[in-house]
């Protein structure tokens, strides 16, 4: 009875609202006339290309000297006055995959939103960023160790809400429920039955620190059936993460100088009372020193789930932007394994985009 009431209530809350009243001409009517109808009817289509060259003895990030790592194809549009759809297809050496494809209800009661489909889980902040759009030629060691080489994604439902607070800060809470990624995609999780679901929760707060500086703090938690290799530590694997992002930008010279500092720390532990705790994290800084130039550095440290020892890594990068639509960087990375052995790699990463691509979350 309880479940029936809840399911019914949620279905009604999320169901199609009545059509919005519109007492005025469409204020967003297609400007320009002429071929505007096609432009309005078709989704915004974009492609982000990610070309990368690699050198050095460490082949873990990229085996080939040159690779078109990914072509991310985006289709984004409003569906109706209440929802929008976003699809991101990832075409790469392994084939074509739906990286994300979801329908979002934009405004629900209680300043809520919901989405259904396939999406990157709200576990930490970095996980939400598509690989071509990160500053790096690889993913941080801890992100790979605990979230998988491509990050943690799921297919299911996500709900979020803006939480009221006396300081009128942006404070949100998000919950994801979806299928558990299999062990080929996740180092921690493996579904046993269809009812095994991945649950992820995240809350974050955005704190403006004056006109030039902002701080974003988040805490996340994920829980799902553990993969067989980790079952001795409990049937469920748990992953908690804390993330912090500090941004500085002179608003009067916004295109010339900026500073980004971001760090995340993840802790994994099985559900058994005797399960060991493993952790890892990363911290990186990107400083824009001129309109088209940025420098950056990243430090990684991580344990390995289900295995001994851990890894440390450092990465440095120099980035140049010929235009808003193209970015090239040279990067050098050193990873030190459990035995103290070092693996070095150098990269040239070039990303370029065509078509309108929606802005990414700040």
């Amino acid at each position: 009875m309880l479940r029936i009431v809840f399911v019914l209530a949620c279905c009604v809350a999320l169901g199609a609202p009545r059509a919005a009243r519109s007492q005025a001409p469409d204020a967003a009517a297609a400007p320009g006339g002429g071929s505007g109808s096609a432009a309005v009817a078709n989704p915004a289509t974009s492609v982000i290309g990610w070309f990368q060259a690699a050198a050095g003895g460490d082949h873990s990030a990229q085996g080939d000297a040159f690779a078109l790592r990914e072509a991310e194809i985006g289709f984004q549009a409003t569906v109706d006055p209440f929802t929008r759809a976003d699809f991101f297809l990832s075409a790469g050496p392994e084939g074509l995959d739906v990286e994300e494809g979801y329908l979002t209800w934009l405004a629900l009661p209680g300043r809520g939103q919901a989405k259904i489909g396939r999406f990157r889980a709200d576990l930490g902040k970095f996980n939400r960023t598509h690989p071509p759009e990160t500053p790096f030629a690889d993913r941080p060691l801890a992100a790979q160790a605990f979230l998988g080489e491509e990050g943690l994604s799921t297919t299911g439902l996500s709900v979020s809400a803006l939480l009221p607070n006396p300081l009128a800060l942006y404070w949100d809470a998000t919950a994801n429920v979806g299928v558990v990624p299999d062990s080929s995609a996740s180092p921690l999780f493996e579904p046993e039955t269809r009812s095994d679901l991945l649950a992820v929760g995240r809350t974050s707060v955005f704190v403006p620190l004056g006109g030039s500086t902002d701080l974003d703090l988040g805490v996340s938690y994920a829980n799902a059936a553990s993969r067989p290799a980790l079952r001795s530590e409990g049937n469920r694997a748990q992953l908690a993460a804390g993330d912090a992002t500090l941004r500085w930008k002179n608003p009067r010279r916004a295109i010339y100088r900026s500073l980004l500092v971001q760090g995340e720390y993840l802790v994994e532990q099985g559900s058994a009372s005797s399960a060991p705790r493993r952790g890892g994290g990363f911290l990186y800084v990107i400083y824009q020193l001129a309109r088209q130039w940025k420098v950056g550095a990243r430090y990684d440290r991580t344990d390995r789930p289900g295995g001994p020892g851990g890894e440390r890594g450092v990465l440095g990068l120099l980035q140049y932007q010929p235009s808003e639509f193209s970015t090239v960087s040279v990067q050098a990375r050193r990873v030190r394994g459990p035995g103290g052995s070092d693996r070095d790699a150098a990269f040239l990463k070039w990303t370029f985009n065509i078509g309108p691509h929606g802005a990414h979350p700040y």
Partner: protein, 343 residues
């Protein structure tokens, strides 16, 4: 009650009783919460765009620029509280879509944008995250201030070979004071949609604003004539000044940016310097949010005076109204063209 029960059963019976009571309370609470959700959903579905019960409070207007916010205050008077997401000293093309803006937008009754894709890099994401159906495109609380503007420089073909060109025309139309009235009417109509009881008040204030603007425009035209702006050749950094040039008779002959959004190369700068000398350019106009070092060098190389100009209300502390902006622009241009003239 069975005589076989012993005293050791009492704590267990009590614990079971507490547990059952807690479970009953939890079920009642859950059912109540579920019913509350149903009622809330039904109420919202009854009219998702209905003005909230606190409609007597000032209308919350969130505009993308300070110019629009200033005009909203002029038209709305004490019935509105207007804020701008992009400050007057910021480049409106490049505003970070901060989550804190979503909080402001979540409470807005009216959202006003410049449009023509000026804010395409940041405003849509903010609206999508604001969870406010009243201000989404097509809703009564959404205002595109460009809807009835006669837009300049609408490209016949659009390609990134042209740089970061605006496909729907030049969006910097607020820099022609004649467009101030058009923007005011768009805001007036938006306010009337969300607060129809005050429509007459907004209409009167809009008419007053237009009258004041007309009187100020006559003053500015006289000032422009005194300065001999008609036919004066200028170079600007970005294509921000097309409307201003049309309004005051300036002739824009070239740009420091070879194409919109493309930083100037040394070759382009050299060609520009030559052209400025050959064409008799009288003024180099640069928006205040661009790095002035290269324009300063161009000015030194050519002998053409450089003027750093605010592009919006709020760019400087004393530019508070839309009219203040043009007073300041003509003042700065006048001083640049006639540095020795008495104030």
């Amino acid at each position: 009650m069975s005589i076989e029960r012993t005293t050791t059963d009492a704590p267990r019976r009590a614990a079971r009783g507490v547990t059952r009571a807690a479970a009953r309370a939890a079920r009642r609470g859950a059912v109540g919460l579920g019913l509350a959700l149903l009622v809330t959903a039904a109420a919202r579905h009854g009219d998702p765009l209905a003005a909230p019960a606190w409609a007597a409070k000032p209308l919350q207007v969130v505009a993308t620029t300070e110019d629009l916010a200033a005009i909203a205050r002029a038209v709305g008077g004490d019935r509105v509280q207007a804020v701008a997401l992009c400050k007057g000293y910021q480049d409106p093309h490049f505003v970070d879509a901060k989550p804190s803006f979503m909080v402001q937008l979540s409470r807005a009754d009216l959202f006003v944008e410049v449009g023509r894709d000026l804010e395409v890099g940041w405003a849509p994401g903010l609206l999508n995250g604001a969870r406010n159906p009243r201000i989404l495109p097509g809703a009564p609380g959404f205002v595109d201030a460009s809807a009835h503007i006669q837009v300049l420089e609408v490209p016949t073909t659009v390609s990134r070979t042209q740089g970061d060109v605006h496909p729907f025309g030049n969006p910097h139309y607020w820099l022609d004071p004649a467009n101030g009235a058009v923007m005011a009417r768009a805001i007036r109509d938006g306010l009337a949609r969300v607060a129809p009881a005050d429509a007459a008040r907004f209409a009167q204030r809009c008419a007053d604003f237009e009258k004041q603007l007309d009187e100020a425009s006559a003053r500015w035209k006289r000032r422009a004539a005194d300065l001999g702006l008609a036919g004066t050749k200028v170079v600007t950094y970005h294509r921000s000044w097309s409307y201003f040039a049309r309004a005051f008779g300036l002739e824009v002959v070239d740009f420091v940016e070879p194409r919109p959004g493309i930083p100037p190369s040394p070759n382009h700068v050299q060609d520009l310097v030559t052209e400025m000398r050959q064409q008799g350019v009288k003024l180099l106009m640069v928006d205040d949010f661009f790095d002035p070092r290269l324009p300063q060098k161009i000015s030194r190389d050519t002998g053409v005076p450089l003027v750093i100009l605010p592009t919006s209300v709020g760019a400087e502390d004393h530019i508070v109204t839309y009219s203040d902006l043009f007073d300041r622009l003509l003042d700065l241009i006048g001083k640049a063209l006639r540095p020795d003239a008495k104030p």
